[in-house]
Symmetry: D2
Subunit: 506 residues, 4 copies
């Protein structure tokens, strides 16, 4: 039986964040906080285009110029309640989904365990996320658990058309294609929710656009909605704003801040993607290179560890003295950027801040210096400052520009300052598996919670649920957990099944 | 000017802990939780002898058998308000203090910055801590800041007699020597607080014995006391009990749980001391050795990282799936102890749990296997189970026993299962510096806080104070912090002087 | 002044190798030894196709189907003494060359230093190598040093057409294009050497085909030839055979076995390319993966170090007890392949041996296991054994096949068992720079050597020359070498300018 | 059966070394080369006192002032043909030997395998080595193989008296004690060789003093001597001198230069002992410390790897561009000492050179800087330059001096500039096991070699023997070697039992 104990409400945890956010109200649309910067969430309303403008490789480039909205398509069973690029790509998409299934063992385990009870029986989930093979595994898991699903894309560029086709072929009502217009974007969302005789009772959102749309167009729908599960930092931010303003009318689950997700999305994932992204774009040899990493949070820690291991000489900049001290203890020289900017071969930003690498620094870099951003959006490097007449831009590869100074100096700018890891490397399915599992469990929890357990507020995942997600992924590593004896559990004052750590443990 | 902004009260943070502790009331004296297990705090009332029973090397072995209580000693200025082993050792102690000063730059910086204002002018601090060169640097800093100090030892074995002599020579009223009896212990504490015409207004405690004594004997003293600063997990635990029972009558500051202290005491310090402790006791070569580390919390992470770096093959056991997943991602095989117990060369416990290595496992270990404890107290290895007639114990070195099975198999047991890092390696002054600085700042904060800021409750250090402690230690590494621009601070919604992270950040 | 001291003849070094080689005469064409296995050298006569069969990405895919031999092309100065794909691609090739120049500082330094003296004035160099941007930098350096050059490709697939165009435009007589037939191959070589009124006096060969051709067709040419510089292990092998048979009629320089080249080609380069190759083909997450690396020579050491650093759990197999002991000391479990074959996620061969991974092992691997070869040619994995009717092959990406067992198990086979690093990652220019510099120095040495210094034998590079190559690359890292004082040099018995280590130092 | 194939004679290998040595004849006594610097060999004639002047901890400090030469002692069987400190310490020594046996598995394996044949039956071995528990295991192994042994110490300080007692009790004729005078030293050697009715036929020497003594006093003895096995670089150097002068009248085996021994003595051993030595002497925290390591040979590589892993920031100095390039690729900044001398916390010399750290650098170091030598003898740090009136020396611990400048600056000098690893840490038994096994095999080889196999020259160990030593140590790590199939061996042109690598492989 799926074990989902409701531990306790953790709203207290966020009182500080709410206060902090309050001060920034006016900047709401400009500043998603660093914490969730890898949530893949970029909606129309929030410059969603920056990260994905060049993600052409995600899908085939079909020559068909007809808008999906103008096409009449049916799947093999005659169903036409969907709108996608090309239903004929379903087979190829199915194979992608099958490959993804192999690296998403936790969802597959959930499917198996839940075969009997269907904990989502009766659930009508409307979703708005990236539409990829991994999402498909999630959707098919939700279906296996008993839910009906209608889905739109949270980003106009990120849809894998062939996966959308496979989902449509499998009977899902999917409204999404790669390269939607803004109008398409909202039209797709509307098609998901606005269906006669069908009303959603659960929302799975990534970026908050779906939630926003329902608030705006169909506020009465919330009467039947049991809860919102939101993944992105931006969406979470919006929910806290709503909550603070007293306008949040259903419980919401913040799945962005779980320990497991945070560590995997940042530390472990970036440790690999920094190397991958740099190699694929520049073929640079890491050994002996001097690198400065701006910011020593989880992302910076991952980047530094990887580059150090590959024989680079790594310098770190920080504003926070605690992280700074950690950098020292981990063996990195803590410097100001100005101290090393003339000598480094690679500059990597991981701060979540803006204008960390400004024109003045770019002017001082040496010929051939590589500049990239692993941190947040496209604000960290002041790319705009490079769009001046005296500098020449030369595109040498996809995602790689040479910016050339009048004296011939070339700076190698990657992904035009957008996120290197999203633009130039891949996110391992295993990492996405953790997020997807968390989303599924959050839906189950909210859907099955007895009345009164959750109020109209934003909740963090119970620690125990976080631990459960982790435990579902251990078999991948053939990892064998030790169980407490009764005596030990008593000694530690813990339940043998967890949770094992206090909620603030990171 | 010392910048000590009172951020906000963080009691919410601990409500969970209080509930958890409540369930374990009956085990109070037996189980200090894991969190504070490296606080060096062992008082009479809490089997203080276990960690220090063999710390003879901490001080000279004087042949003088006379009890200090029976001696008449004066320092060179004629002052005799102290009770120590031998005032003649003052010069040697002074040199030890001077050496310690070199590695405690933060306290020295505090002295300098505070020369003008004397933020502790009028403070009468009574203290009960280990009396070592590092404590002496703290005490002399408090004095430089304006405080009067009276001090006793929190452990009957840990006093460095020559340092106590130097302090007495310097005019401090110190009551402590190595090898006190239990009666001596309480007599010394009493001498600190019970002085006609002098009443303390601040308490600095390590283990809670001093606080306990005043509660029991001089409850009225609390009327003048502005606050308690407590370092040890045990003492903190006691304070939460008092608070919960409504009996805490002054504000208390928990300095045990700051990020900086936790990371240094555990991760960074253990990363070095595991190697040091094993080498000093066994001269074992690490390369190629198979090691199992039980527990992958901060201590386990430190041990694993160090041994992996030295060429050992490391296995990890865990009960918490989140830590287990971290171990996997960090490159360690996660196993049950029974899977590897026959093949490993070294077994290290870091769990905070009890009976992790039981007789059955010890029976299955191979000849020459080294067993030691980095975790908590002396409970992790079931040493008692080895005290049976069929096994022969042979002491081969200080802190090293061979336990010999009837078939000739030898297990190398270190420190009789007590903490290896306390018994067989040294705690770097730099780590103690961080704790001492935190204590000093906590005293200043509580002493200068406007009425009403702190209530009769237990407080965590404000994040900003924690960051300040870290910043005071950066110059040691010639580390240069970056400052936010106004624009960046506004973008991030942060004050340019911090705090930079939410309180829950670890 | 370029300092090229002739140290001493090191033929003794190779007597053993010669004997060893003698035993294998009959296998000559099948077995290039492991040592030189990364020399990029694959000629027609030696299954040159295997490594490059899929290197399509190296160059543009022009639609022009006309054979270059049938075209009439002239460069902008009217010169037509070349045969390449398309002279119009010269501009694009020039930019590639310029980019390469930035990472080949040693050759650029050679150009500068030699501006005055032209140490190759009068040299007529005929070359047969891969024709890439890096080779172009070498050729233009030789020209700057005074040499005339005529060049053919040593591999029918590896030519970068645009680079060949830039060279032709620059006045070099280049005969090479991507996708030559075997007949084309020899025709190009012949065009290089068979020119009325021009006779080469130096040979730069990679694979021995050019040398072979001259021996066969124009043996009299050797009267004027001052020496041969050979890079590949295969070519070197051939030269030793000639020498042993008393048929080598000019001195030859083996540039394959220099310390610097060996370390860079193997240890340092593979440390990076194993990660790169695996990521580009499979996007696999390294953290927590179980990997077995077969062979712990330089290549295996590089692979193991990289994967360990990325959080993989690495097992090693070895036949040589010395390398095995090194693996142990470096922290890897030394196993037989059969012990771990069922549990590993990735299998990597680095042995130089054949049939290391046979069908029996492939049958026992778990679903999803990735199998690749970093070692030698395509012999290490018995790929032929997978070409059986009961197994289905599915190409999922370029260079990635799923081999599917009847029960559905999939093995992920990379590059069909050919070299992963050549097929699926790039060789950093910096590594090629070391080789090219060594070749240039070897040419200078042989060309300028006084008569009698070199006999008709195969010579290793003098240690001092190897050190000189290294020193030319230090500025890339802003590395500052220390110089011996006179007193120290005398104490050590060394010349202040080197050589610093005995010749056998590796 | 012990498999000892005589591969081939490797004198060619050393022709270069001989030439090099010839130039330095006049410096013979001053400069043992770096290669053998860890051989523990310091005899009377060669300032043997420097490394051991403070090795008091090696043995008990007995109060008995009587010279062993003046005592009459018998072992329990009435034998008195020995001269040691105190026969009563035999039991304690026996336990030390038993402990050593556990970490010398190869010698124990040799004993077992050779039980039947006694390959040293008839051998009369006279030895002159350090007399420690590990040597005892070697001697008892030789005896088990059939040899008679007489033994003296090669160093006046290094004898473990209790081990000597155990050997004497066991029937060995040992002449050695801790604290011999120079006269004692030669007297002991003479007692070993000058015995009526007994004449040695094998010599096992460490430093060459025994060999020298026989040459000088009993040259006729060489008629019966079958060979010399020499371990130290100094002794080996002497033998080459003899050989070159045509005066070597028996074959000699150089066991100093085997790959296994070199790697273990330098890279792997120093990787651990640098940490151990620094911790035991200074308790310094490694994390965040800036360290400069002078020299990046095997010793430097080991030191750098360890310190980097512990979180230090490491700079490297080098004179050899090849090693310099390796340092770069391994991630270390290559600097001149003068560039970093003001900022580093620790200076470590590993050069084999002299006056690497001169007074000028010492003057510029910052307060508290730790200075130590891992390289060679006591020449690397110019300690003599610190013996000037304006500087004060303060001994703060055994092996630790504070040198104090007039302005109060203190430099922490370890072991007075002698080898840190010999003075302040221990050499793991496992490393000594490799050496001792090599010595035993060399004796067997020379003793059993058919006439004519070895001439009056100095021989390196056959590669195969080196591999055999390694293979005997693999079981310690439960390491499982892979065997070649017949087909693979043929493909590689190798014998299935080795040797697997060419002789020059390092």
């Amino acid at each position: 039986k799926i074990c989902l104990v409701h531990d306790y409400i953790v709203t207290g945890h966020f009182s500080q964040t709410q206060i902090q956010f309050a001060d920034q109200k006016q900047e709401f649309n400009k500043r998603p906080t660093k914490i969730g910067r890898r949530s893949l969430s970029r909606s129309i309303s929030q410059s969603s285009t920056d990260s994905y403008s060049s993600a052409a490789s995600y899908t085939d480039s079909s020559d068909d110029e007809t808008s999906p909205r103008d096409k009449q398509q049916k799947n093999s069973k005659g169903n036409s309640d969907f709108c996608i690029k090309n239903i004929k790509q379903a087979d190829f998409g199915r194979r992608e989904i099958e490959i993804a299934e192999q690296e998403m063992p936790a969802l597959m385990a959930l499917r198996k365990r839940a075969q009997g009870e269907k904990p989502l029986a009766g659930a009508k989930v409307v979703g708005c996320t990236h539409i990829t093979a991994q999402t498909a595994v999630l959707m098919e898991t939700l279906a296996a658990l008993g839910a009906q699903c209608r889905w739109a894309a949270c980003n106009i560029y990120s849809t894998q058309n062939e996966v959308a086709a496979a989902l449509a072929e499998g009977g899902f009502s999917v409204f999404a294609w790669k390269g939607e217009s803004e109008d398409d974007f909202w039209w797709c969302i509307d098609r998901c929710v606005n269906l006669e005789g069908w009303q959603p009772n659960m929302i799975l959102d990534d970026g908050g656009d779906l939630t926003h749309w329902i608030y705006k167009k169909y506020p009465n729908m919330f009467k039947k909605i049991k809860g919102i599960v939101e993944e992105s930092v931006t969406g979470v931010h919006r929910l806290y704003q709503l909550s603070k303003a007293g306008k949040l009318c259903v419980p919401a689950m913040n799945v962005n801040d779980s320990v497991t997700k945070q560590k995997f999305d940042n530390l472990y994932c970036c440790r690999e993607s920094i190397l991958d992204g740099l190699k694929r774009t520049t073929d640079v040899m890491f050994g002996g290179k001097q690198v400065v990493v701006c910011g020593y949070g989880e992302v910076g820690k991952g980047c530094c560890a990887a580059l150090k291991a590959m024989g680079s000489i790594v310098y770190v900049t920080e504003i926070d003295p605690i992280c700074a001290l950690q950098a020292c203890m981990d063996g990195f020289r803590l410097v100001k950027l100005s101290e090393v900017i003339r000598q480094v071969d690679i500059v990597i930003t991981c701060t979540g801040n803006k204008n960390v690498v400004v024109r003045d620094y770019l002017d001082r870099m040496k010929n051939g210096c590589i500049v990239c951003n692993m941190g947040h959006s496209n604000t960290e490097i002041d790319v705009a400052s490079l769009r001046t007449p005296e500098l020449t831009w030369e595109r040498v590869r996809s995602q790689v520009d040479h910016v050339i100074w009048p004296d011939g100096k070339r700076i190698v700018l990657l992904a035009e300052g957008r996120l290197l890891n999203l633009s130039c490397s891949t996110v391992p399915t295993f990492v996405l598996s953790i997020t997807a599992t968390t989303q599924a469990l959050a839906l189950i929890e909210l859907y099955n919670a007895p009345e009164g357990r959750y109020k109209q507020d934003v909740y963090l995942l119970p620690k125990k649920m976080d631990e459960y997600v982790a435990s579902l992924h251990l078999p991948t590593f053939d990892a064998h957990l030790t169980e407490l004896t009764d005596e030990q559990a008593k000694y530690l004052g813990l339940n043998k099944n967890g949770p094992f750590k206090p909620n603030y443990y990171r």
